[in-house]
Amino acid sequence: MSTATAAKAPTAPRAANGGNALAGTVGLLRFGLRRDRVRLTVWILALVVGTVSTASNYKTLYADPADRASVVATMDSPAGLAMSGPRHYLDDYDFGAMLGHQMLGFMAVMAGLMSVLIVTRHTRHEEETGRAELVRSTAVGRHAHLAAALTLAVLANIVLALLLALTLGGMGIDGIDTPGSLLYGSAHAAVGIAFAAVAAVTAQITAHTRGASGMALAVVGVAYVLRAAGDAGGDGALAWLSPIGWAQRTYVYVDNRWWPLLLCLVLAVLCAAAGFVLSTRRDVGAGLRAARLGSAVASDALTGPLGFALRLHRGMLLGFGAGLFLMGAMYGSILGDAEDMLKNIDQIQEALEEIGGATMAESFASMVMIILAVVASVYVVMAALRPRAEETAGRAEPLLATGLSRTRWVGSHLAVALAGGTALLLLAGVGFGIAGAASASDGGLFLSLLGAALAYAPALWVTVGIAVVVFGWFPRASAAAWIVPVYAFVVGYLGALLRFPAWMSDLSPFGHVPQLPATEMSWTPMVVLTLVAAGLVRLGLEGFRRRDLETK
């Protein structure tokens, strides 16, 4: 519980402000709990149930030690380590070690996502909508919002930790004991709290919720990639730069070390303190950078529907482009290590056949492609749902009262989503290809890696199509479009570990993409996916043409 007080200890700014800067924190915290009671319950239960069902799956799937040995063989490769955790877990791969190795890194990302969204939702979003102004005009101190949001995130993480410890400890699975489970849960909480504090900083920097969440989630993404590169690269140096890497280096259920979690808490305290200090340097509702004046007239490019849509999507597209390029390059830089490993280990051959790759590097590359494609699909869903965001914000109404038809308006956003998603794959492929070809000293790899990335384009288009259908026919359920990337991720990432049946992966558009370069190119699914995408887009547009515009 020391974290709760540590996270909201803005001693210096409080002294500088004279009055009680934390007045009203408790009230806001209770209000936050009330507002988020469903949201937080769903988040926490989903994470706990996901973990518990995985653990019980292990027991049935890998009951035989021989099965576990074969998993070790698969895991003991750059591809396996990049998607799981450090190699030390493999030494004695019982159920506890499997959980710590395979699930902790992934679940820590989820805890980070939950924490970031809690903090930005209760700080920057409140300011952006103007509600914070109203609340702050009452007897509420200037640090109360941030302190309440951080406390809420800390509480959520502690509840998550305790529930994980209780349920896992009580399952009676070999190797999953109670002390280990307490550390396992605490590792989630430590990572979640660290990223909540990161969001406390990013919420001060920009005036927009989307930007604040995006920046903090980019930090989560970088932390994950650093961990993956560090673990796959062998020596783990890069992983020591990442809170997720720290959590995994508790070697929970194996060595049960608590001290790496201290690093998370130190980071949390530092970031939270920085957030409180930064918040005193800006006005309510504003970012750290003062709003600038802009052009008094619109350029010709801006006033066409497509140019306008491009302008609205510009920031996010650039951010995702840079992120995916770097992600690709980072994974590419360890591709050479994957090649080396093949030469050293003989029995790997068998494991390779399971994945279906011709070489170690190729199966690793195929696995990386799935991750890159899922990240691109996150962008694609956000972009395809942008018309919905514009509609609910009341900004579509004046546009659609001009000579702009509904189809052209949505179409312009979809064009950006379709082309932008493809461009993101291109950038990721270029980054992966350049770094991969360099690290493997094989120039020919560049084109095959680039092609492997682009092969996911039709699946992205189908994702756009699904989002449009939801938007056109069931606008209030637009968030349902997020099922596509989440499902693709769970099936693509966990499906291999948990041996999901084939039909589960067939449900995802990404399951039909040929896993280049490990498998042969096959054009049929590409053509079918493209046609399905075209049909879905058409259907969605038809729905939007028929329905009422939602107005404020």
Binding site: A296, A298, L302, G403
Partner: protein
Amino acid sequence: MTKAITVSGLHKSFGRTHALDGLDLTVETGEVHGFLGPNGAGKSTTIRVLLGLLRADSGAAQLLGKDPWHDAVELHRRLAYVPGDVELWPGLTGGEAIDLLSRLRGGIDKRRRDELVERFDLDPTKKGRAYSKGNRQKVAIVAALASDAELLLLDEPTAGLDPLMEVVFQDVISEAKAAGKTVLLSSHILAQVEKLADRVSIVRQGKTVQSGTLSEMRHLTRTTVEAETARPVSGLAELPGVHALRTDSGRVRFAVDGDQLDGAIRRLSECGVRSLVSHPPTLEELMLRHYGDELGANGHGAADGTPRLADDGAER
């Protein structure tokens, strides 16, 4: 005269809420038509149906002789719309938003745009987020008036404008009328409609309750009279059409039906009129007449003798 807007028997429900319940509206070409009603009467819903943003459940609506749902885009090139609650893009300047909206409508008169920006005292270089409510409203007004639309649909356009800008707005609308444009002006700011409108329609709970010129409506309603007399007035209460009579040491105040005014004044003059104030019903009173029963039931009716349907307890 041709009709710019004809609406009859329009129905529109949102779930269990009946926003429009058989609304009628006729606007002649070239007139400024006031569209009056309290919040939630269905004014914005009607305008959105006319814009093809909402699809009516039943009833007929025609705009410039065309169907607002099927010919939306074609119609939008000939009309301009100002919503009552303008939302701007946070990353775009006001100037960019004006140009965007006008060009999507099909062209902008640059000189006119600059002139309007000047007259409304708008800084077009600020980003959308930095504008106050009134300034956001100005952006939409300038964007609507800078293009050459023949029909203006204005949904409470001056909400948030200061009184000086309100005057500028009235000038601009008068000019538009002089240029032969048709204006549908929805409002609950009565003074504004009174100054600009040729005819008004009053709506309530999704129905049109009255429509016509202001003088027609006034004829149908009561005039309020306040007088000081030399001798106490007697017998007023017995006259037909006199309501809400109040006497207070030589002062008398009452409301009288339009066709009974003559008799009441005659009785007053018999008692030696020292001072006389009479005013025709304002639009406020016209509306109170229609909503009076509701307001009275809520306990905040027009206590000072303003005419309303239920003048219970006002006579003492």
